[in-house]
Assembly symmetry: C2
Homo-oligomer: 301 residues x 2
């Protein structure tokens, strides 16, 4: 079934203790779409500037990403720059230049308006709502968000949460959104806010999934070397939504499996700088790592 | 098969945001033995003072704990006092009075020397080694340790690690012992130090188990209310060793199941103050929570 991602396409400059990436292809929609491309042909709605390199467009095309919704705005492409220390869970943003992204309003091509699976990447909740107003009868909507919107746009975010099927956020965001340190209780509060599927990413500690009636815990893959954590969360979301849209199901078991596929794609993504690893994957590598997750969690035959 | 624990029996004074315990029954061997008592009749080697209340002895006897190795020393019982804030992962030690524990040298009753399963609770590594010198042909030895010994007694600890089958420690201890922040690599370094089964407890993030050839990740139980985290690690170890000694196996699958049973006992232990929850458990509650762990981790039928 069809899959739509609305988010950012950016030029990332990233420094980690293990190397540096300069104005590389990045952004939430990019990581999402590349990860999802192993399951489906995702549709992107995003904006880039006139300076966006043609080679990056070709990279996305090579992975069969549908770019009819990629707008070219007047001005320069969104640029983000960040630095990681040896604790790769912590990063400093060195610079954010929104450029064309500053006045972005997502406009869905006609064909995209009937997309069945929709992921609202981390943009202003009012823009996420604008996307929903252009969509008719989706089967499954999930959204991301971030601390800035939780702190400053709680009302719009509350409106959004009522209209999505699932929210994907990290543990500190879940605690802040629910104003509750205990994650199980935080998830319950988010259910009460109107979203019944809460997926909480914990980085190296894996991922939790709460519905009002069930709980699932996925481990992290025990990576011995991580080169660049940028885009891990978006790769997770891409693998997650990619799998769901391929099987066309949203029951509890499908979502659990999708979380494992999301974890698989995220674990690959961080092995190399930028999107490099997401360009070189094979079906065999993905299914082999999925089997590793089965082995990692097995305790009853 | 027989199970021996060597560790501390103490009087604990604990303050959490949810209540207070004054000179309550505590200590690593106590929590261990009570948790293990749901699987076996553990033998305790420890020391208490002349002031140790008879009612605490009765509590242990009621749970069928074998107290032939519980020495009564000249002086007062080991006392520990600690305080937890709202982040129950952090605690401040308010006071430690070793008393009779200061000059403790474990002496195993004759019958205990052929114990098949042995757990060396967190005491000085030289004392842990003294225990091993008194044991003949055990089937499985596991040990705990702590940051103080890692920092100050690295040589003795290195000697110990070569002589145990498994080490159970928390994530910060594993990082410090291996001098390596990545837990997968830290585990590999501990394998290289001579111990092939490394079990790393991560509190609210569950538990990891590494051998040179396999990896297992166990989730934490999603508790919504924790009253007193004291003894969680020892309860884990007690459930873990209790299960192994009951089934008399130490293969990879048995250890994975034992880790789940350890997690079950730890999750119960923290629900009430001190050892209270470990005194009121039923077989049904334990097997029901074990099934919850199966449900929490299931993603392939």
């Amino acid at each position: 079934m069809s899959l739509l991602i609305v988010g950012s396409v950016a030029l990332d400059t990233v420094i980690t203790p293990f190397g540096k990436n300069n104005e590389a292809l990045g952004g939430s929609a990019t990581y999402f779409a590349l990860a999802a491309s192993y399951f489906n042909q995702p549709r992107i709605v995003a904006v880039v500037g006139e300076d966006f390199p043609e080679e990056h467009v070709q990279v996305l095309r090579t992975r069969q990403v549908d770019l009819k919704g990629l707008e070219i705005g007047d001005g320069k492409t969104f640029r983000w720059s960040g630095k990681y220390g040896y604790d790769l869970n912590e990063r400093d943003t060195l610079a954010t230049h929104l450029n064309v992204f500053e006045h972005f309003h997502p406009k869905l091509p006609e064909l995209y308006r009937t997309s069945q699976f929709v992921f609202l990447g981390n943009i202003h909740p009012n823009l996420q709502l604008e996307v929903l107003d252009q969509i008719s009868k989706p089967l499954f909507i999930a959204c991301d968000t971030m601390n800035m919107w939780i702190e400053n746009e709680r009302e719009a975010l509350g409106e959004l949460i009522k209209r999505v099927d699932a929210i994907v956020l990290n543990d500190s965001e879940a605690r802040e959104l629910a104003r509750e340190p205990n994650l199980a209780r935080a998830a319950r509060k988010i259910h009460d806010m109107g979203c019944r599927k809460v997926i909480i990413k914990k980085g190296e500690h894996g991922c939790l999934f709460f519905t009002p009636h069930s709980h699932f815990s996925a481990p992290a893959y025990p990576l011995e070397s991580i080169n660049d954590p940028t885009g891990a969360g978006d790769s997770f979301a891409g693998g997650f939504m990619g799998y769901l849209s391929r099987v066309g199901k949203v029951d509890d078991l499908a979502i659990r499996r999708a979380i494992i596929y999301g974890s698989v794609l995220a674990s690959f993504s961080v092995e190399l700088f930028g999107v490099d690893r997401l360009l070189s994957l094979s079906e065999e590598e993905i299914s082999s790592r999925y089997q590793d997750f089965q082995e990692i969690t097995r305790f009853d035959v």
